[in-house]
Amino acid sequence: MLATLAQADDGFVRPVIDWHALAPELVMTAVLCIVLVADLFLPEDRKAVLPSLAGLGLLAALIPVLTLAVDGADRTMFGGAYVVDNFALVVKALFLVAGYVTVLQSTNYIAEGDYAEGEYYFLLLSSILGMTVMGSARDLVTIFVALELLSVPAYLLAGWRKRDPKGNEAGAKYYLMGVFATGVLLYGMSLLYGVAGSTKLSDIGAALAGAESLPAITLAIVFCVAGFGFKVSAVPFHTWAPDTYEGAPTPITAFLSVSSKAAGFVALLQLVIIGFAERTDVVRPMMWVLAALSMTIGNVVALRQTNVVRMLAYSGISQAGFMLAPLAVVGQVGDDTLTSIVTYLVIYAAMNLGAFTVVMAVARKTGSAEVSSFGGLFDYAPSLAVLMSIFLFSLAGIPPLAGWLAKFVAFRAVIDADTGWAYALAVVMAVNSVIALAYYANIAKEMWMNPAPDGDKTPVRVPVSLTAALAITAVFTLVFGVTQWATELGDMANFVANIRP
């Protein structure tokens, strides 16, 4: 027995743990445990502390991210399976800040909605933890586990309004589709492992680079992309999104449409740029088709929506198409793919969260998310109407609001490729940015130009937490549009040098 142990000891290589690099995740883990435990001991009337706790935890986790950024060194662990490079830091910061906004959005919604509070924040933090891990994951197993950690709590949160059949439906559909996608993704990953003989992305990249173009590799890549296509709600893997968005608690909808989607993109970027960099023959056309389909179908269906949240879901699908577009020219444009998608993610997070925050604020009065319920908003709540207009037109990409810069960098990356297909995609993007305006402006029209339904003009009372969320998102939406900060974040977000083939 001892001998066996000794022998085993010989084979066991003690892993080198860089605690600084893991600090954000450790802080998160600690906080989520604290939240869970605190929930047990807090009396019912003191539960309001929980969101503050969760929020502070997220901000606390941001501190090590900043110190790591200041430190600047790329940190690699487990033979490259877990990496803290600039890319990881940028997306971690994004997840944490977006998560903080989600907490702000949730505060009143959850407290007033008679939902389980402690568990809600616990699950939310777990999911965000999964995302931060995803930012560093450069290994199939880690990616898979991180994906599940960010997904499983999200399934539950989507169905959090459990007495509402729509809430159940939202959760169930999200869950089932998620598991289906996981199945596809896992099958693809298993083939990748089979081809490369390793789960590390850098090894896979090297293996694929040398291999001939084989059906098995194509199959593996397609399945992996499809699995994350679900996560980023790319057409035709988008079907869950509108139903889930509509039925889920609105803060969670915002969370899914921003953070969860961003996590999907983070994984895709890692897979595609590190793993499939040499297999652009498959990746590019696939991404081209996904991008074009997502933009177009997302947009035209959004035109038909009467519910703002559903409309934002479809708009999110279309926005995902824009974000996928630079991947359709991956490898032809240097760092532009990465820069543009990260920039887009950052800006998209600000404006989309903002839009959802306004929807929540308005729904507090009208109790509805129908487009018509926004009628006359400019009359009785001009600030909200102006803010909503800012977010919507930012989503539509109208300068000087940040959205234009996001779209611009996407265009820039695509056009940099200078191929016929790239230009065709650019034209598709251009046409779609016009279609998108139609439905965004439709809401603006409702707010500014139509009377309030039933003539009800009582002002909307916006709680402090929502105000804070609005302030954060609005400031970012305005500032990113006229400064270079968002693009600088995108530019900074590079993978560690030695991991890129």
Binding site: I398, L405, A441
Partner: protein
């Protein structure tokens, strides 16, 4: 150019003072309407004051050079720069913008269109002003693009909130059309960036593409240039608007509140034509030569088509709107000839059309205020009821139909003139045909404008308004209109007011075009 502060900060202040005013107004409560009016007034006049100082300090001896240049990095990652400056091409348009918006605010002083809300209305006007001024001073494509787009939102809301019955449809149509154009335009800008040596600065791009060897880039094939030009054509052409992309214009004009129509007609349409001369022609001269015959064809179609459509109108404002299509056709024809005559004519046309059509929309607005309708057959006898207004309308209609001695003529005639002898590389026969068609367009212009004038102003008032008390021109209207009327006359009598400023700059553009084809 003595004052260093003015040199460094003049343009920036001029552009952003209105926006600063808008920020201040955001903080003032909605109820305090007087404060809003005065703050907006101070903001536009401060901007205009700085602008006038800049224009006074402008060295008219070398209008072909960019002056008051500020060149600072802006969004480094995409190589976008804060690069502003003015030359002979910008000056008249900047001056026009500085003039029109204050007049609009004065005009609105006492009668904001329903649903009033002066705060929002004026804030939007101020933002609009910043966008317009910015477009005319920007020398970096991205900066240009941003300003070009900034004007969309305020105008959308001005039309959509303060407009007439069909305002929502008109507003969104305007918005979608323009955005479609700009989306294609931005593709072209980006393509230019990559083929033109990774810069967005307009003069640099022009230099790089004309002398690829010196810039160390590959020569840009003609086919690529033509495609890139196509994108810009869509962007600018829709804004102009060129037939067949004009359909947003009548709706937008008809539905917009008076001030909105005025700014739309007087300044916003010029963004498109300005873009052609500022961006498209100098950067891609060879492609311009390829495109010119088609632009010319669309321009003359627009001239005739707009005029024919005018003849069918029953609504005064819509008629004026279609007349814009026709008049912008002359401007585009001038541009399409690629000659110094044509370009000068185009810029003159822009200024003249800005003043005249702006004035016509002011008048239409005032008529609407008084009669609560713009249906031509219900009007009549304005000269009886409000003789001064009637005379002003007559004067403006005359100016609009291109009467010599008034500003409109100097936009039209040289444009027709230039088509006789188009620039190098263009088919003379084709353009002479255009010339004759365009000249015929002047007949139509006389037709529809005088017809309009006859039916609205001549004769006796219809029974409906026989006994109504129709007030004549009032003080805010006088203040707003007199400068425009005087300018229409002054430019008409002494067109060199504009030509002297623009000529050097545009001649150099034309030479560049000739050189591109010749070389």
């Amino acid at each position: 150019m003595n004052n260093e502060f003015l040199t460094d900060w003049g343009l920036t202040l001029m552009v952003f003072l209105p926006a600063a005013g808008a920020l201040v107004m955001l903080l003032i409560p909605k109820a305090d309407e007087q404060a809003h009016k005065w703050v907006s007034m101070v903001a536009v006049f401060a901007s205009a004051g700085v602008g006038v100082a800049v224009l006074a300090d402008f060295d008219y001896g070398r209008t072909a050079d960019l002056q008051f240049v500020v060149d600072k990095p802006w969004i480094d990652v995409i190589n976008a720069r804060y690069f502003v400056g003015i030359d002979g091409l910008s000056v008249p348009l900047v001056a026009l913008t500085l003039l029109i918006t204050p007049l609009c605010i004065i005009y609105s002083w006492n009668h904001f269109p329903e649903p009033r809300n002066p705060k929002a209305f004026l804030i939007l006007l101020l933002v609009l002003q910043t966008g317009l001024l910015g477009t005319f001073v920007a020398q970096d494509l991205i900066l240009f693009f941003v300003f070009f787009e900034v004007v969309l939102l305020p105008m959308y809301f001005l039309i959509g909130v303060w407009g007439a019955e069909q305002r929502q449809y008109a507003a969104i149509k305007f918005f979608l059309f323009t955005l479609f154009g700009s989306a294609l335009m931005i593709i072209s800008f980006l393509a230019l960036y990559f083929v033109g040596g990774e810069t967005f600065v307009i003069p640099e791009l022009a230099r790089n593409i004309s002398e690829p060897a010196a810039a160390g880039i590959e020569a840009v094939p003609l086919a690529t240039q033509v495609l890139i030009f196509g994108g810009m054509f869509m962007g600018f052409g829709i804004k102009v608007p060129i037939f067949p992309f004009h359909t947003w214009l009548p709706d937008a004009h008809t539905q917009a509140p008076t001030v909105g129509s005025v700014i739309l007609a007087a300044i916003m349409l010029k963004l498109g034509t300005y873009g052609f001369i500022r961006v498209a022609l100098p950067i891609l001269p060879e492609a311009a030569v390829e495109w010119a015959p088609y632009i010319g064809a669309l321009a003359v179609i627009g001239i005739i088509y707009g005029a024919l459509a005018c003849l069918a109108q029953t609504d005064m404002k819509r008629l004026i709107a279609f007349s814009s299509v026709s008049h912008m056709g002359f401007i585009m024809l001038g541009i399409a000839t690629l000659t110094d005559f044509g370009l000068n004519a185009a810029v003159m046309g822009m200024v003249a059309h800005g003043l005249i059509t702006g004035m016509l929309f002011f008048l239409a607005g005032s008529v609407k205020d008084r009669y609560h309708t713009l249906e031509i057959r219900r009007l009549g006898g304005i000269l009886v009821k409000a003789p001064r207004m009637g005379w002003i309308l007559g004067f403006t209609a005359m100016a609009s139909l291109g009467l010599p001695g008034l500003a409109g003529f100097w936009g039209e005639f040289p444009a027709i003139l230039s088509a006789y002898d188009p620039g190098a590389g263009l088919s003379t026969v084709t353009f002479r045909v255009y010339m004759v068609i365009a000249a015929l367009g002047t007949v139509f212009a006389a037709g529809y404008l005088l017809w309009l004038y006859q039916r609205t102003s001549f004769g006796v008032p219809t029974e409906e308004f026989e006994d109504d008390d129709i007030p004549d021109v009032q003080v805010p209207e006088w203040i707003a209109w007199v400068p425009m009327l005087v300018l229409i006359l002054a430019i008409g009598i002494y067109p060199n007011l504009v030509f002297r400023v623009t000529d050097d700059q545009l001649t150099s553009v034309a030479q560049m075009l000739t050189a591109a084809v010749g070389g």
